[in-house]
Structures are given as C-alpha cells and as structure tokens.
C-alpha cells in the first residue's frame, strides 16, 4: 500500500478524505497530522457556536471514530514542522517521522495581524479556530473592540453582543462587508446590527493598541518584551479617537499558511502555488484549501475548496483527468441570522471598458435586493434578508440568460417570472 500523509485536518482535508476513501478505499495507508487538538469540525459553524446557537458536538463533522472506521491514523495537537522532500518524510513537532509516497498540504490560513503597535498585548485575539472560540466564550462581561467589518469581524462582534459584551466594531470603509455588499445593503446591515446593540465606528483606521502594564522592578527590557507582559487598555484611531477596550478581536483578513511549504523549497507566492491538478512544484506533493494560490488567486470561503478537494481526490485515487478551474460563484453568508448572497460585478465597476450597466433595487422591510444588468444580462447581485431566489438569480448570472422578457418582475423572484403570458394580462383592454 502506498502511504499518504495529510498535513492539516481542516475543512478541505476532511472533504478530501471523504471523497478519496470512497473512490479508492484501499489504495493508501493514510496518516493525518493536525495542529489543532481536535477531530474534524466545521469551521464555518464557529460563528453560531460563539453566538450560543450550537455546541461543539454538533459541529464535529468527523469524530475520531470516523477515522478509525477508515483505518486512518490521526495525529492531533502536533504540527508538522518540516518536510524532507528527498527522503519523502515529514516531521512533526512531537518528533514523529512519517514516510509518504504522496503528501497533501491543507494547512489553511492564519488570521492577518494588524500592522500596528500593541498587537501582541494580552487580550488581543483572533477568531479562527475552536480554541479561539473557547477563549472568547470564557470572557466575563467586558468591553470588546472588533477591528474589521468583513464577515469574520461581524460574526465575532454579533456573537459577542449576544454573550452580553459591550462591543464596538471598527471598520476602515464607509460600509460593512464592502467586498460582498453595495452601500445600501451595507448600511442596512449596520442598522440591523445596531438595533441589536452593536456599536460601529466607520471609516476608521486603527492607529495603535494601548496597553497597561503591571508594576515592574527593573526597566532594562526592550519595548517588545515589555508588551508581551502588558494588557490591552484601548484602541487608538487615526482621527485621534480612543476606544477603551478589555479585549481586541482582530479580523482584518487571512494569510495563507505557506511557511512550511516554503521552507521545503516549494514555490510559494502569496500561497503555495498549485497547477490545475492541485499539484505543487513537487509532483509527489499536492495542496488544497486556503493555503494555496491557484492561477494568482487565493481563497477565503469554503465552496471552491470543496471543488479542489474533489479534483485532488480523483488524482490521488489515480483516476485523475479532472482539472480544477475556479468558477466564480455566489458568496453566501449568514450574519446574525441575516442571510446574504452576493456575486459578480454587483457594482458594475469590475470591467474596465464596459459601461457600469443598470441597477435594479428592491427594498422591503427586512430584505433588500440589487441586480446589476448589462446588455440584458445579470452581471452581479446582492441579496439581503430574503435569499430564497438566490439560486434563480445565480443561474441567470452564470448562464448569461437574456432577461429582457423577465425584467419587469425579475427582482421579485422566480415565482413571478414563470408566466410568460403575463404581459398580455393588462396589455390591456380597458375592459379590465
């Protein structure tokens, strides 16, 4: 039997194992090494977990038994620290040496650190893994500043409000989720979250994090050392505002975890470079997930990773002729119970030489929709609240369907676009 070692036990890895053990149950003797001390869990569900909407057991997608049932060896709580490519061997922090015929890197990403003074103070935390969540759940009532108005920051902030903390979210742009939402939807989201007790400071750049320090005897220590022992006291903004804080959650993006690969001499740019078969520079080594860079693109949401897992599994199973090609798909998020879907060129500004096109907007209590239309084709959308028609719009967007016949009731969704005869209904005898 060939030996497959998988580095990382996150969402991409688990999906790959599912597929591979089904396609070729007896091809490999598989070892999985996970840095985190847990079996496989659904990272996406960390937000509801932090918000109190679920529990650890429910979000555990792959309990230890699942690995045992498939004869997979699972080593947790110990990162791989080195890859000896020539020997085809990896080494863990605990000292395991594992031989491989094929190696899969699925190391995910790490939270980006704020590039400001004070990030290493106690009380500056991230929101990435189960450990972070446990820590956040153990806080006693506190003032929390969340930095970053992307989905991670919002979910953390909202969950912390639910836990009873006094939370202020600081965002550098004019509206929230500016990657996924237009201004109207962003403002709406802000209003809805404000109504739930979250406070916002918008268009605010974080200047530094202020600390407090226990009384010290000598003072011969360097300032960085000093910080290591200090605690968060406040966040300073570029405009001079000072936001007192007991904790700071930084949610300003992610960075692919590619150090291990880089140190093994694999080609790494922003992430680990892979080709369309998810192979790295070394034909024995594959990589999938947030740690990779594929055709100059890195990843931050789960949907494309599943596709990578599926393609990669077929190659590892030696059935491989499939290629991974990034397909733009809609982003689906749920912030504090509010469903959001967006896709494409929803502002009409992504294509340099094209006109922005036309905007249709729908405003309802609790819901908002925007479609961007160019040459009678949907080129982008934002859905807020009621997303029941997301699949319908996404299909029109992907298939570049000519919507001129549907245009009038298009925004109202599929249930109002089915009757092509409608036009005649009022077309329109004065005898109504």
């Amino acid at each position: 039997m060939k030996r497959l070692v998988v580095v990382g036990n996150g969402m991409a890895a688990c999906r790959l194992l599912e597929e591979l053990t089904r396609l070729a149950p007896d091809l490999y003797q598989i070892t999985v090494v996970g840095d985190e001390p847990f079996a496989g869990y659904n990272r996406v569900m960390l937000s509801p977990l932090l918000g109190g909407g679920t529990d650890e057991k429910t979000i555990t997608t792959h309990p230890h038994q699942w690995y045992r049932d498939r004869n997979i060896r699972l080593i947790t709580g110990s990162p791989v620290v080195a890859i000896h490519r020539r020997r085809r061997q990896v080494e863990t922090a605990a000292g395991h040496l594992l031989d491989y015929d094929r190696l899969l890197l699925a190391t995910g990403a790490a939270p980006r650190q704020l590039p400001v003074e004070g990030v290493s103070l106690d009380g500056v935390v991230s929101f990435r893994d189960l450990y972070d969540v446990r820590r956040l759940l153990s806080l006693s009532a506190a003032r929390v500043v969340v930095v970053g108005g992307g989905f991670l920051g919002l979910e953390a902030a909202d969950a912390l409000v639910k836990q009873g903390h006094d939370v202020t979210l600081v965002h550098s742009r004019g509206h929230l989720l500016n990657q996924q939402l237009d201004e109207s939807a962003g403002h709406r989201l802000q209003q809805d979250l404000e109504a739930r007790g979250l406070k916002f400071v918008m268009q605010a750049r974080t200047q530094s994090i202020e600390g407090t320090y226990p009384e010290e005897k000598g003072s011969g220590k360097s300032s960085s050392e000093k910080h290591r022992h200090g605690r968060v006291a406040a966040v300073h903004l570029a405009d001079g505002q000072r936001l007192p804080a007991d904790y700071v959650v930084q949610a300003v993006g992610i960075v692919p975890r590619a150090e291990l690969a880089a140190s093994a001499g694999l080609t790494v740019n922003q992430g680990i470079r892979v080709d369309d078969t998810l192979q790295t520079f070394d034909p024995a080594i594959y990589a999938i997930g947030e740690c990779v860079e594929h055709r100059e693109r890195t990843f931050g949401l789960v949907a494309p990773l599943y596709e990578q897992a599926s393609v990669c599994a077929s190659h590892l199973a030696e059935l491989g002729h499939r290629r991974y090609l990034y397909a733009d798909s809609a982003t689906r998020l749920k912030i504090s119970g509010i469903d959001l879907v967006s896709c494409g060129d929803f502002l009409g500004d992504k294509e340099k030489d094209a006109s922005p096109g036309e905007t249709q907007q729908l405003n309802l209590p609790g819901s908002y929709r925007r479609l961007q239309i160019r040459d009678n084709r949907v080129v982008g959308m934002v859905l807020y609240g009621d997303v029941s028609d997301a699949p319908f719009f996404e299909k029109l967007w992907k298939e570049k369907t000519d919507i001129s016949a549907l245009r009038e009731t298009l925004l109202l969704g599929e249930a109002f676009c089915k009757r092509p005869g409608d036009r005649d209904q009022n077309s329109e005898e004065i005898a109504a």
Binding site: T61, V302, Q361, P365, E408, F416, K418, N426, I430
Partner: protein, 886 residues
Amino acid sequence: MSAEANTPKAVATNAGTAICTTCPYCGVGCGIRTDGVTLKGDTQHPANAGRLCVKGSSVLETLGDQDRLLNPEVDGEVVSWDQALDEVAGRFRRIVEEHGPDAVAFYVSGQLLTEDYYVANKLMKGYIGSANIDTNSRLCMSSAVVAHKRAFGEDVVPGCYEDLELADLVILTGSNTAWAHPIVYQRIVAAKQARPDMKVVVIDPRRTATCDLADLHLAIRPGQDVPLFNGLLTWLDDNKALDQAYIDAHTEGFQATLETARSQGNDWDTLAAKMGVSKVDLTTFYHWFATCERTVTVFSQGVNQARNGSDQGNAIINAHLATGRVGKPGASPFSITGQPNAMGGREVGGLANQLAVHLDIDNPAHHAAVADFWQAPALATKNGLTAVELFEAVSSGEVKAVWIMATNPVDSLPEADKVRQALMACDTVVVSDCVASGDTLACADIRLPALGWGEKSGMVTNSERCVSRQRPFVPAPGQAKADWWIITEVAQRMGFADAFPYQHERDIFAEYSALTAVAGQFGKRLDLTGAADLSADQYAQWQPQQWPLKGDPRCFADGQFSTPSGRARFVTCENPPVRQIGDAFPIILNSGRIRDQWHTMTRTGRAGRLFAHLSEPFAALHPKDIERYRLQEGGFVRLTSRVGDALVRVTRDTGQRPGTAFMPMHWTDQFSRRARVDALVPARLDPHSGQPAFKHTPVNVSDWQPRWHGWLFTAASPPAVEYWARVPVDAFLQAGQVQRYRLAGDADLTEQQLHDWLPQAAQWLALNDPATGHYRRAALDKDGRLLAWLAIGETLPVCDVDWLADCFADDADIQHMAILAGQPADAGPDLGPVICSCFQVRQKTIEGVVEEGADSVEAIGKGCQAGTNCGSCIPELRGLLETCTS
C-alpha cells in the same frame, strides 16, 4: 338575479322585513324587494316581474355614508338647517325683488321624485312667478315630448312594455337597449326566444350590443332618421300599405306630410346610398314594416338628441299613424326614457315650457285654471329658459341665482366647460345633492344635503306610465333631508307658507293627483284623480299602477286624441340639411351609455364591480380610422372639437361606422382627468324642444403617446398627471374608500413625486429600475396592512388589479414580494421546508436526489448542491438519507 351586499355599507334599519321599492337607475323602473341586506327583483312589479340588471342588483353596494354630503354648508361653512334655509330663501327673495322673478332659476332632475318635482314647479311657476325651471330631462326626453304633443296633443306614451312581447316586429332606433334599458331588452330577448319568427330591426350608426338580437341592423349614417322614415311613408304609399280608413277617421295633415316625404323621391338605390345602407336592407325593413301589423318602434336618445330630434320622433310617429298602429296591443311608437322619474317630471310639468299636468303656459284657459287651483298670485305667463339657455343666462348674468337639485350640469350639458365657468361666476349657486364631491358641487355657494335612494320616499313614473313607490329602508345620514321638505321650507321662508303646508309626501301626491282633474277638463289623458283622496295608509300600501288608473294599460286605442279636434296630427318633417364635414373636425362623435354605468357615476361609481365591464373612458373608432389617424388600439386619443377637448383610451370597434366615433357619457372630472364628453359638444339645439344634439359632434382625433403608464391604489385624490381614470375598490381605510387609478403622463417623474403621491406610511416596499423608468411602491401601516400601491413604467406595469384590490381587506395575507408584484406568487409545487439554506434546497428536492441513487452527503451535494456551502445542514441531510434508504 339577487345580490348579497357583502360590505358593511348597507345599514339595515329593518333587516328581515323586506320592503318594495323602485330601482334608482333607468327609465325601465324595475321593482326591487330588499331588507337592506339582501336584494332581489320584485316579482309583483309589472315592469320586471322579478328580473334585475347588474346595476339594479348592485345598488346596495352603492349605499353608505362614504362621500356623502352630511350637513348644510354656506360658503364653505357647516351651518344649521335653519341658517341654510334662511340664506337660500333670503338670497332668492332679494334677487327677485331687485331683478324680477326671471333672475332666478331652478335646474332639477329626473332623479327627483314626483313630489319633489311638483313642489319645485309650484314654487317657481306659481309663487316666484317665473317659468325658469328646467330639468336634465331636457337633455334626453324633450324632443320626444314635443313629438308627442305635436302628434297626439299631449305628452303621452301610448303603449306599454307588454307590446314588445306581443309585436311581430320590434324596431329599436337610436337605442342601445341592451345596455341602456337592460330589462326591456331582456323582455324582448325572451319574447323572441318564445317566438323565433318575431323580427327585430336595429337602426343605429353603431353596431351595438343590442345588434346581437337583430335580424336586421340598419347602420344608417348619423342624422338620417327623417329620410329613412319619410322613405318608409313613401314605400307604404307605393305599396298600398297605408291604413287609409284610420288616416281618414282619426288624423289630420296627412297629405302635406306625404308630399314632403315623397319629395325625396322613391329611387331606393339613391336613398339607400344616401343613408349608407344597402338597398336590400333598406327595402327589407320597409317590407317588414308594411306587412307586420303588430309593430312597435322603440326610440330613445339616438333619436331625441339631435338638432332635429323632434322631427325624427314625429317621422316615426307618422309611420305609425299612417298604418293605424298607435296604442294597440303590440302596435305603437314607444319612446323610452332614460331616468327613473323623467316621466314624473313631465307629468307635473317641471319643464320650462310646460305649466303643470300636461297643460301649457301660453294657453290662457290652462293658465287661468291652474292659477285658480293653486291660488297662485303670480303664475308665470311665458315660457322659461330651457337647460342650455338657462346656463347661458347664468353666464350672461341675467340669471343671478340658480338652485340645482340632484343633477350634475357641469358634466352633462354641452359646452360643459362654459357651464362650469358660468357657475363659478354666478352670484348664488345652491346645490342639493346626496354626494359630497362632484364637479357641480365644486361650484356651489350653498350645499344642501339631500336624501338618496333607499332613504327617500315618494313616487316615480317609468316609461310605460307606471307609477310606483320608492320606499325608504335605511336611515338618513347626517342632516340629510328630503328634497320636497327642503323646497317647502324655503317656500315658507319666502313668505308662501299657506300654499306650502305639506307635512308628508302624501299631502303633495294627493294635491298633484287632484290637479290632474284640471287636465281632464281640457281633454288630457293624464288622470290620477283616483288618488286624490288617498289616505296615508293607501299611500304607504301603493301598488304599481299605470295611469290613467283606469285599468287599460294603453292610450289612444280608440283613435281619440288630446288635440282640440280629437284627431292625431301628422307632422311634416323636412330632411335635415346635409352638413359639410370640415377638414378640421373630420370625425362625427356620438355619445351614450355603457351597460353598467349610470349618468355621471355619482351612484354607480361607488360600486367597483360596475367597472368590471368597462373601466376607463374611451372613444370607439373603426379600425380604418385608427389606422388613418395613426392611433393605436388601446392607446390614447385626444379629441378636440370647436369648444373643447378630451383625452381617453382608443378602442377598436368594427361596429363603428368609418368617420364616426363613440364616447360614453358617464365619465366626469371625478372619475377621469379629462373625459367629459359634453365638454366637446357645442350647444346646438333642436329648435322645437331645446334638446341639445349630443349625438353629432364634429371632432378631430390625434394620437397621444405617454412617456409612462401606471397604476395607483390609494384613498387619496389623484395626482395631477395628464391622464387618470378612477375605479373604486371595495375596501375602506381610515382615509376613506380605496380607489384604483390608471395613470399615464408625458412629463418626467422624480422619485420624490412618486413619494408625494402616496400617503404617510410606517413601512414601505419599493422596487426601482431607473433604466426602464419602472418603479413600484407599496405603503403599509405599522401592522403591515396595505395603505397604497403604485407602479409606474414605460409600459403599463403588469399586475392583477382585482387581486390587489382584495389585498386592501383587513384580513388580507400580505406577502411582500407578491404585493409588489401585484399578483399572487406562482409558487409551483410544494417542495417542503428549506433544508439547505445556502442554496435554498428544499426537502422534496433532496429526497428526489436520494431516490435517484445518491447515497452520501457528498452525492446529495453533487445532485442538488445541498450541504456544499456552510455545511450546517449536513446533520439533517444524514437524517434524510437514513429515512429515505431505510
């Protein structure tokens, strides 16, 4: 037919105890039984024997306090009745003292009851001393009155409805009976079904709904009735079909009339061509007339509303006299009236050229007798101003005070815009009405709240001289009072208390009945003397009866007429001069009723269902003209005449003669922006009757292309846009009844404007597509109920207006998407609950994928995407897998 009143509007005072009353609409005068909650035709009533048309059966829906005038108002202030009546009496008295009796006028209506009419007539002619009382009946019936008086010596309809069933040939001329007199039409339909060899001829330039029944439709050119019937006289002579014995024994003036008729020759090819029909059709009609002893010729507005309306009526009567067919079973000329009590008004004499009870002002003997009966100090000695003249006199300032009762001359008179200006400039305009808003009310200085149908009590006379009761069954709203009471009070305050002692409508009816004895002294047929002594109880119990109350439903069967000689008169009818159609106004506009509306819609306009038939004002044109004038079917047309203009929808009607157009007469400024047909009609009158020629207006037509179209539902008034047409919705909000407006305009709109058209609201639904100018708005209150709805687009926004109307109900299920769509969702089959919320995948879809072989969560994901995003539904997917596969 029966109708359930499904709105809370009908307030039953005596629910459970049904009363019999008479329909408030057309001159058929159908009997109705109602307890205020349910309503059906009165099976005992001779006019309808239980049948009702849609207008009659929906009348309960038009009751209620919405938009009712509830208090007297003087110069915009609510005042007590005492103050209002003093004010009216005072102003009229002062003007009479300063300027003489002819400086005041009454303009009344066929909607008044006989008692109201009688008191108004007595006050004006007998006590104020002017004959300036005219009525809207002038607009529909006065030419027939002249024709009757000239031929029979009295304004008497000789026949009765039963004649229509007995006839072998029914000729319907100038009458869209199917829509204007539906129950008469139904009686003819039933008769023809029973006796299929009975023939029906329709004479009308338009192919109307009535033509469905016709064996022959003679689509003669407008204004050709006299040549047609003159030709008939010639044909009867040529074919030896005259009843010479009858002519000799009972008529006079035949020779001269025949000679005039013959002067147009008997070359039927030429005549047919002149009239615009085929020779075969023309001679078929003549042949049928000659051979059918039992022939009834029904005529109404199409004959009356012409410059030679009186002559057209006489041309018809001439043919009947020449064949001895007057007042005989199944054989008679038959003028049918438009209004429920036009006949009552004619009987009491409520027109400017009548004195009272079929007597004449300029006949000294009549004058003396009536003056004596009334003990009238100042009985008018000369004819007064007829409707059109009356408003011209208002305009010139000759008439300084006018009291308008139960009618809407700003919409119904020709050159209606001038009428409005005249009223606006007039010293004192008093309007008694039962509604609170109307184009005429808007001009009033003093407004008096009158009782409406269902509240008022009195007598009406229908087209076959049948006198029946209108009985009250709902309480008077607010301060509203009977018209006769209002007039009586004013008369008393003007100093005529002795002559106006009436306590009850019966007192008036008894006095009027007694007065008919005076008519009898002069050989008139009008005779109600049998009712002169009726008790309060008898009045209350009154059963429908035809006058002369002698048992015979017909008049003049014996060949004895009301002329001094006792002979009927032939009236020489000259062919009308051929009118040149100018290039400027190449289309001849005709006007008339549509099936489900009545007059200016003050009543029918309250029942949404009466708009289901035709919901907007329109002009019907022949397809050739639509093409020729580059109009668009369903589009808009601007009509202009010498005196006015209108903006309405275009309908295509192959039944319309090329070169002619038809517009309904009902739409007022209350119902559409600019669709008052009478604003187009110049005041050209029949010289004998003063009746305007409504049916023959030269107009120009041009296409109007709006930049945007829209629908608006609101309880507020319409926005100031180029075109709107209103339809009431059966729903009531705090702000009033919901109205549906069809809108169109050619000015650019801003979002702010749209906002301004809508009421304050707690919640909004909005759809914007600025690139196509498509906007939708729905306003909701804090409980989520619909308050207003608006949609605007370059083409008319798609919606289901009836469904939307239902959404204004208190308990309507308000689904936001559907509300904005303006139609219920077409949800497709029920696929169960959403399991995967990321991809909105429903349970049945997932089960379907499993049944097709998916055996894992991943396979389900491949099949239908479920679980491939956040994965939070994966536990549920597992559960479904287990239940499906076990």
